[in-house]
């Protein structure tokens, strides 16, 4: 019979398939691998073991040994955090001094001198400018230190070892070992982490990885953690230990996030997403000395500035929105005051304040602007910081404006601890939510990924606050 149409060809192939060996796929793979081995053997010559190979093997034994692997991993993460916290303090204070203590009056006065109407001056100077200035002062220094450190580790070849070590845990909870890689990607940005789950073949394990990715602290949340830890927790310790205590606190939150990811994965793998864990092979790449200056440059330009730019893009309109919220009155109160008073009871239960909850609503587009939003709302709504109402005046010689504003806003150590916990466990930012929808094409799983961490966060905060108050 002549095979002419595509259907004929397909039918023919179907028939012929039965006459071929059952393990055709494997035999083809085998013959390819055999050919590759032959060509390689003919063209490659190798002098025994080199020194470089030996120290790489030694390092690998240390970094993946059951006893030493975890302490070393935690130590390295802790060290990066410590460098970030102690290093970011001084430049942060300088930027706040420059942009807020000096820059803000300058912008405000310039607008007044230009005979701008009061509402426009407020919107631009107290809204847009201040929000943007906060973002830069609060976020730039820690990011400029954290990202290069992280990228250097990544280029050195540390991440695959982390994934290798964590694989044992992931397998125990019924998730995919590559989830370790997607979670480390999430440490940069959760949206990127969610896209990265494409490296996981099994849909079940991929969903688990997507839902739990939010427990990796992202770019936008590290500064919140670092700031809260250094202002409220580091301050509890003697000055020499402040940096270490703050680093330990942030490390604890990051590890708690990992714990929650494992717990949630375990729960999902045993209830709605039941199934076999699939195996995979992970290649441990050789350690490569990172090109230091190049890494520094690219991570500053590409990562730090892009993230900062994103924050500014979201912060400027958010600043305007916040100013409007605080200055448009419904009846006898501003919109912001209505919301804050309305949510205050829940906020109290959670150990937070209404301002923080409002900030988390405003900051849905980007976690980066949570702290700036909190600061602005505190200043605008409660009049803290020395000025009255919408006037924003700071002590001109104060370098630690953030601390003074938050203390004036009635914050305690409990507020800081609960904010750190809530920052870890709350809904993903809108970009991540959208990415989750694009990746899963399911509103159901998008909703689960959005609300599951939020519910955990609310419960966690209420529990923490209750225990704290009982003990205090």
């Amino acid at each position: 019979m002549e095979t002419t149409t595509p259907d004929h060809v397909l039918k023919n192939a179907e028939e012929l398939r039965w006459q071929l060996p059952q393990n055709l796929h494997d035999r083809i793979a085998e013959s390819i691998y055999g050919e590759a081995a032959r060509i390689a053997a003919e063209n490659v010559t190798r002098e025994g073991q080199t020194r470089r190979l030996r120290w790489q093997q030694r390092l690998d034994r240390l970094l993946t040994h059951p006893l030493t692997a975890f302490p070393i991993m935690i130590l390295i993460l802790g060290a990066v955090l410590w460098i970030t916290i102690t290093g970011a303090n001084v430049p942060s204070g300088m930027l706040a001094n420059l942009l807020i203590d000096h820059g803000h009056p300058l912008v405000s006065d310039t607008l007044t001198a230009a005979h701008a109407p009061e509402w426009l001056r407020g919107l631009l100077a107290d809204g847009v400018y201040l929000a943007t200035a906060w973002v830069i002062a609060v976020m730039l220094p820690p990011m400029a230190i954290f990202f290069p450190c992280f990228t250097l580790l990544e280029d050195f070849g540390f991440l695959p070892r982390v994934a290798f070590n964590l694989d044992r845990i992931f397998q125990k909870v019924g998730a995919h070992g590559k989830q370790a890689l997607t979670m480390t990607m999430g440490l940069g940005c959760n949206a990127a982490g969610v896209v990265a789950t494409r490296i996981i073949d099994s849909p079940r394990e991929r969903l688990i990885a997507i839902i739990t990715n939010n427990f990796s602290l992202c770019n936008g949340r590290w500064p919140t953690q670092i700031l809260m830890a250094s202002i409220f927790l580091g301050a509890l310790a003697p000055k020499a230990w402040a940096g270490t205590i703050s680093a330990l606190a942030v490390l604890a939150v990051a590890l708690l996030g990992f714990g929650f990811a494992m717990l949630t994965s375990w729960f999902l793998a045993r209830t709605v997403l039941r199934g076999e864990a699939t195996s995979f092979s992970l290649e441990l790449p050789p350690y490569r000395p990172p090109s230091f200056w190049k890494t520094l440059y690219t991570s500053l330009i590409d990562r730090t500035l892009i993230v900062l730019w994103r924050a500014i893009v979201f912060a400027a309109p958010a600043g305007a929105a916040i100013w409007l919220c605080a200055n448009i009155n419904l009846g006898d109160q501003s919109i912001a005051a209505w919301f804050i008073n309305f949510t205050e009871p829940l906020a109290w239960l959670m150990g937070l304040t209404g301002v923080i909850l409002l900030a988390y609503v405003v900051a849905i587009p980007a976690n980066e602007i949570v702290i700036p939003t909190i600061l602005m709302l505190t200043v605008l709504v409660t009049g803290a910081g020395g000025g009255a109402g919408a006037g924003v005046m700071f002590e001109p010689d104060s370098t630690d404006v953030v601390r003074s504003i938050l203390h004036a806003g009635g914050w305690t150590t409990l507020t800081a601890v609960c904010l750190m916990l809530f920052s870890l466990c709350h809904n993903p930012c809108s970009t991540t939510i959208y990415t989750i929808y694009k990746e899963t094409r399911s509103w159901k799983w998008t909703a689960v990924s959005t609300f599951l961490p939020l519910i955990i966060g609310v419960a966690l905060c209420i529990l923490t606050a209750a225990i704290w108050r009982m003990l205090a």
Binding site: T4, P6, L10, L24, A29, S31, I32, E42, V44, T50
Partner: protein
């Protein structure tokens, strides 16, 4: 005022020193040729991509970093090249999503040249993918990357013999330091513009009954789709029961493939 002066520093770093290279970054419109970058994970495809386009896509030392395709462009000798960085894969035989992105592009994206980036420190593993890629496309260049590392490990590779054996040009590179990149660009240009198609080696498939079956299917495919570039590979996939390929044959989509036709519709992956 002085028309004759010694070349300044600007001249030494001028792109024209390496045969009229211009890195076009993201300007990927109106390109003359499409170049695909394929290879195992973590062999430095993205580093090569960055070196060619002047872009700074983030790279990292772990397999699986590039998940989606990245595109960029460069121009050399007046020709514009669009370059597509594919996710790294160990093989093209299975159906995992990242492998599908790579395979679909190699087949349906119809690259004019496929640059296979291989890790010189573990050539054998990289040759598996190289051999599989050569079944899909013949216009390929093997970029033997990480030569600096191979040297540090005391590994030497017979480049000329390897090239003869594979039937495609082999260019040793250290993309991180930029070593070998000018030669690679030149070779890409040569393969893209020359009318001759390289003749890479065929796979020895010593499996009882396979040869005959392949010939029959291949003949059928040639009748239905006279311009199909790699009928033998498609036939092999059909015999293996590859669903994507079966579907492409059933719908006739595979018939849209013609050899050496740049700017074909690229199926979105």
């Amino acid at each position: 005022m002085n028309p004759t002066h010694a070349p300044g520093e600007a001249c030494l770093t001028c792109p024209s020193r390496h045969g009229q290279l211009e890195k076009l970054g993201l300007r990927i419109d109106d390109t003359d040729f499409i170049i695909a970058l394929a290879g195992n994970p973590n062999t430095g495809k993205t580093t090569v991509f960055n070196a060619l386009t002047g872009l700074r896509m983030h790279t990292g030392n772990w397999p699986g970093k590039t998940i989606t395709r990245a595109e960029g462009a460069f121009s050399y000798d007046g020709k514009r090249f669009k370059i597509v960085d594919l996710p790294g894969t160990y093989s093209l035989l299975s159906a995992s999503p990242d492998e599908e992105v790579a395979r679909t592009f190699l087949l349906f994206g119809q690259p004019d040249v496929t640059v296979i980036v291989a890790d010189a420190t573990c050539l054998e593993r990289n040759l598996n993918l190289t051999l599989q890629t050569l079944q899909i496309t013949r216009r390929a260049v093997l970029c033997l990357n990480l030569m600096d590392e191979a040297k540090a490990h005391g590994i030497t590779i017979d480049i000329r013999h390897l090239s003869r054996e594979l039937g495609i040009p082999v260019i040793p590179c250290s993309a991180r330091s930029g070593e070998g990149i000018p030669e690679l660009i030149k070779e890409i240009h040569t393969v893209a513009t020359s009318g001759e198609t390289p003749k890479p080696r065929a796979l020895p498939l010593e499996i009882p009954g396979l040869r005959g079956a392949l010939s029959r299917i291949e003949a059928g495919l040639k009748q239905s789709f006279p311009e199909l570039p790699q009928p033998r590979w498609v036939a092999l996939r059909l015999l293996e029961g590859d669903r994507e390929i079966i579907e492409a044959v059933r719908t006739g989509e595979i018939g849209a493939l013609k050899e050496n036709h740049p700017q074909q519709g690229i199926k979105s992956a």
